[in-house]
Symmetry: C2
Subunit: 725 residues, 2 copies
């Protein structure tokens, strides 16, 4: 079990400017409050370095809201003589960048050779302090390998944008002898943010005094120092952020925290940070013997989920691309509840509870959405941001035809998200037995969602209820009738809500009386739930045991073989066209198999096998949805197809680390990360809850010699060791 056996480090030994945005995503660090992409303190041409914090939403055209890229707090520029020191301005060797997943410390070192014998060794380190919301630290050590006049500049800057959109206006700034302060305000939402940086610069003969540079929007401190060959300089920058969402006057708060950081110093902050990380890893680490790539990938997935999960508020959740990029404008999709949340419910349930409370706080918005569609209860938004209101655009500019627009149907039609949230609440309850959470928040979520389903399903003369014109998880087919995933999960949701209502009425009669009155629930509505649940139509072929993904799916053509040819770099949809793909059985992600993954008890072994054999082949694993491969792995493992499962697992594992889809620039694929954990725990380990505990039915990949999973099940820490038999 050496370092290579159980690796904790994501490493880069050469810098490739053409993939810098991918690297920025991979080297993202954070603390559950704010994150920073892995770009360079000293800058690099074309960089997309950016930080994002939970809840700092601002409006933008078309897409509603996005998190405003934080003011640039990480900048440390330096010049050797008149020449800026960056990777593109001199010859570089010994370059190395390491992200220590165990502690979240990002370090980078290189030797820089400029013109006129300038010769420097630079070593950078930074981390965002875990365990508390606001602090970050950066340290730069420069060693002169030849005499040099160094000029350093470090401060704060509001000159940042979200892909061209400016969200901040400057409300104030200040430069003191060793401190710079910047107060900003988002332009539309009016959120105030204060950032304070304390900077210390230590030269060969002691502290170096700064010159103040109070540029509009960019207060900073400057240092000039001559170094002889071999001499070193150490610059440390302590940064605190505070917003008026947490304090009415954030500037003094940030100032005090930055001052406290200086008192603790680098070592003190590292100690606090490392202790907080040790707790996180004790709760959720997974060890895989015999497969270093899988080991690193699962730790990387856990790291990225852990830094993105809101740890200091229940008014936020994890967006589809976490806090690591601009993808999907930080909006929250079903990705969170179905893909990411299980890991938290089973390892750090307080974080899962917070994210479900975010949905509870959004109930008013979900009720507005239902009411606008003429339905009852709560219809959760396909995309959520600061509130529970729908923020899916109804149209977006057509990327292929400037000046035209294409409609976006998912906000109106991808209705399954309401059942997904119901499912997550129920799963959380099962995983934790947290009855207080259920009473205070969970029950209302489940019951309000059931009201939506009972009012959305339409009784037709065939004796069934139907949901027509929906989009299921497989988004290659838009506007279909009776999507099996949607209908069967909605039916499950209605059953669960009925059972919950009965349980509440029996065990918590006062609570039930109040809640049912608030929601306007009566016996006839409860009866309707059961009626709809029983009669919601799920297309099914009894002779084969195949569930039909939606009504009419089996009448479609097979995907032409030439489209499936290897070596492609885009999706089948892109190859065949948006309209044409709808006429085929090709699917973006395993829609029916996802249902089997969520509701395993509703599939016999034979039926699961039949559906797996049919649908796995027809799924665009490579360039369809990034949500698919991990779930495909979990299902394949369950049916005993371990080698196929491992191939799907690798596809998921490489989503961001190897950028196999070519779109990791936009941010971490949070659902793929959460799915990876599920593939290991629900798939290879075969973990499942039982009425009085849990059990495993392991199916380990051949090269895995041992698997260790850390969970918290119903309040109890479990360390589950699964040796290879």
């Amino acid at each position: 079990m050496g370092a290579t056996e159980h690796p904790w480090t994501v490493s880069e030994t050469g810098f490739d400017a053409s993939s810098q945005h991918h690297s920025e995503t991979v080297f993202t660090i954070g603390n559950g409050q704010h994150c920073l992409r892995g770009g360079f303190e000293e800058g690099f041409p074309g960089e997309q370095t950016a930080g994002f914090a939970h809840r700092i939403w601002d409006q933008l055209p078309v897409f509603g809201e996005e998190l405003a890229a934080l003011p640039r707090w990480w900048g440390v520029q330096l010049w050797a003589g008149d020449r800026p020191v960056r990777l593109d301005t001199g010859d570089v060797d010994d370059y190395r960048r390491n992200l220590d997943l165990r502690t979240g410390v990002l370090s980078r070192s290189y030797r820089w050779h400029g013109p006129q014998q300038a010769d420097l060794a630079l070593s950078w380190q930074r981390f965002i302090v875990a365990g508390q919301p606001s602090l970050a630290v950066i340290q730069l050590e420069v060693q002169a390998l030849a005499p040099v006049l160094l000029w350093l500049r470090s401060g704060l800057s509001a000159a940042v944008d979200n892909a061209g959109l400016v969200h901040w206006e400057v409300a104030g700034q200040q430069v003191e002898a060793e401190r710079v302060e910047l107060s900003t305000r988002t332009r539309s939402s009016g959120i105030g943010l204060a950032v304070v940086a304390e900077v210390r610069c230590l030269g060969p003969s002691g502290p170096i005094t700064a010159t103040r540079a109070d540029e509009p929007g960019a207060p900073s401190l400057e240092y000039r120092v001559s170094l002889a060959a071999g001499e070193r300089l150490l610059l440390t920058k302590y940064v605190a952020l505070a917003s008026d969402l947490e304090a009415s006057a954030p500037l003094p708060v940030a100032r005090e925290q930055a001052g406290e950081a200086v008192r603790l110093g680098w070592d003190g902050l590292r100690a606090a940070n490392d202790a907080a990380w040790a707790e996180i890893w004790a709760a959720c680490d997974i060890e895989i013997d015999g497969d270093p790539e899988a080991q690193l990938a699962i730790r990387f997935a856990l790291f990225q989920l852990n830094i993105a999960a809101p740890r200091f508020t229940d008014r936020a959740s994890i967006g589809a691309k976490t806090l690591s990029g601009l993808g999907y404008r930080h909006h929250v999709f079903w990705d969170t509840e179905i893909f990411m949340l299980p890991m938290f419910s089973f390892t750090q349930p307080e974080l899962a509870a917070g994210m479900l409370r975010y949905r509870w706080h959004g109930l008013d918005g979900a009720r507005r959405k239902a009411a606008e569609a003429g339905r009852r209860g709560a219809q959760f938004p396909w995309e959520a941001a600061s509130t529970g209101d729908e923020v899916t655009p109804r149209w977006i500019p057509d990327p292929d035809h400037p000046g035209r627009q294409v409609p976006v149907l998912s906000g109106d039609r991808e209705v399954h998200v309401t059942a997904d949230i119901g499912y997550a609440v129920w799963q959380h309850w099962q995983a934790t037995n947290d009855q207080q959470f259920l009473l205070d928040y969970g029950a209302e979520l489940i019951l309000s969602g059931a009201q939506f389903w009972a009012s959305a399903a339409v009784a037709e003369p065939d004796g069934h209820y139907h949901l027509r014109g929906v989009i299921g998880p497989d988004e290659y087919h838009e506007v279909v009738d009776d999507n099996a995933f949607t209908n069967q999960l909605a039916s499950w949701h209605l059953h669960a809500a009925g059972a919950l209502a009965a349980w509440l009425a029996e065990h918590q009669p006062q609570h039930w009386a109040r809640l049912s009155a608030e929601l306007g629930l009566n016996a006839s509505e409860l009866a309707l739930w059961l009626e709809v649940a029983a009669a919601l139509y799920v297309p099914f072929e009894p002779e084969s045991g195949l569930i039909e993904q939606f009504a009419g799916y089996f009448d479609l053509d097979e995907l032409p073989p030439e489209v499936q040819a290897p070596g492609r770099t885009v999706s089948w949809q892109r190859l065949l066209g948006f309209e044409e793909i709808q006429r085929t059985r090709a699917i973006k992600q395993p829609d029916v198999l996802m249902l089997a993954h969520l509701l395993p008890d509703q599939f016999s072994a034979e039926q699961l096998r039949a559906n797996q054999d049919f649908y796995d082949l027809r799924t665009d694993h490579e360039y369809g949805s990034s949500l698919g491969p991990a779930i495909s792995a979990a299902v394949a493992a369950r049916v005993g197809e371990v080698e196929l499962a491992y191939l799907h697992f690798l596809q998921a594992a490489r989503t961001d680390l190897a950028d196999v889809r070519g779109n990791a620039d936009d941010g971490i694929h949070g659902a793929a990360a959460g799915g990876l954990w599920q593939a290991v725990v629900f798939g290879f380990a075969g973990f499942e809850l039982t009425a009085d505990g849990w059990r495993i039915r392991p199916q380990l990949p051949r090269q895995w010699r041992r698997l260790v999973i850390n969970l918290t099940v119903r309040g109890r820490r479990e360390r589950i060791e699964i040796p290879r038999p």
Copy 2:
């Protein structure tokens, strides 16, 4: 005829931060290539200082394209000790800002008293050199009234945005001893722009050496100097801009031009600038004796139109808000052809010809628009930008309901713009007798537009042709049938095109053979034009002589009297609501009277009188369209209602100078400026062309003692003096 009698200066003797954006618009300067709003070199909190150049379009969501706000080339920051010197950072007296309309020189002076006895007298001057495309100069003189350590910084910065949208990426920068260079590129359209500034700083004992400050995206030069009481410092900044639309390598071009500017020096550049302006004013000046407000307003209107009119390209035109702000995203509307162009056709016809050639270059886009609507010929876009393609959004975010969208119908329905352009071409031909322009460009514009009209009008069983579901100039009524303005101008257009075709066939048979073949014109289409022209339905009430604005207009209710109450600050539409106003006869601008203004020969004196009496009363002159008042003035003058005409004239004259509509922040109302000229020339002077020349039928306002108009009619300079009888 003293200074107050014939004023040339727009003055401000106190600075009011709450109206700074209005002042920025008013004090815009430019040279027909690029413009700069009147903000301060040293900055001011909340400023919206911005420069724009023709053709530097970049894409943006929803609105298609806008001109990218130019990199900040005008900045000169200064500090007294550690304190920034701005109007908000000290006590200010003797403040004055003057725009000299005769030369386009903007000057500003004030005394600044900071803490600790800092006491400065500042005097700023700047102008964008007329007569050539790329140069601008700024001069700052500082006098120390008490001993002071001054720090100045001047350079270039790419940190600019269009209301929050960043259009530039930095492609390169350089700081030399006395020169800074910045190369930028628009993010979507990829237009390269180079800006070079040569800076000279002269202290009491000679030139002051700069320190270089090469901030990313903001190269600049810094100067530190101690001044004793009474000592002065003079900073001069010579700026050149060049884009790769004009030169494949714009940086050396800008560098050379900035160097040439240094050689010419301030005085040399002033001499060249003043000579170029003298030519402009000789061509178009209007003198009004006895009415200083009217005199200043007409000169201000002429100044703003002259600095915005493209003088160095025929690939651009004047946007609705000129180059002076972000309003309407710089898009080109009918405002240009119907309101602004006549002044140019009658004073500087080469500029009018250039703007009509811009439409000619856009014919392919106009043909695409027609083809998409299933029509023939060219349908000009309601909003145009870099090409002739339609850039009117089909929907925009609802300002009153964040997250929702409202449809915008004008792009599809405000079809009259095609006839407006045909009219402008014809008028230009009549004003200039420029046969070469007609053959090379004008004929194709008129004929292609006629093809559109003949294919758009629909024959119905009543024996008439109809245009249904359109929007006329009065945008309070959307989706109406047979708008009189649209139909009668389309009919005129078809007649004119038929006459033009006949003239070409007779006088330019070879040209006609080629052009008619290119456009696919044959005898049956020409016959159809005449048929449609004769049978296009214009609703009319014979007994009263009233043209009905559109079919059914006379059936509408009168505007409730309470809505008309004085003291309002918003439009009738806003007061009554978007839907409700459509049920009334209240109109946004004089739709039928605009027709009478354009086609005076088609209205008898009695009929004009009847329509004037009916429609003038029902027009929202105060807060309807800014296009209306000047035209209302012209029509009222024609019917002899000179006092009413003068009231409307004042309303138009005060649009931007007094911001009577409260929206001058967004930029100059170009159509109101052009309309003001028409009110004077076509209205009060009663100027009109005749078959062999021109004539006037003056109706001067009572206080006007003499009116002098400079025109160029059919190639001849005319100075028309109209004394009060």
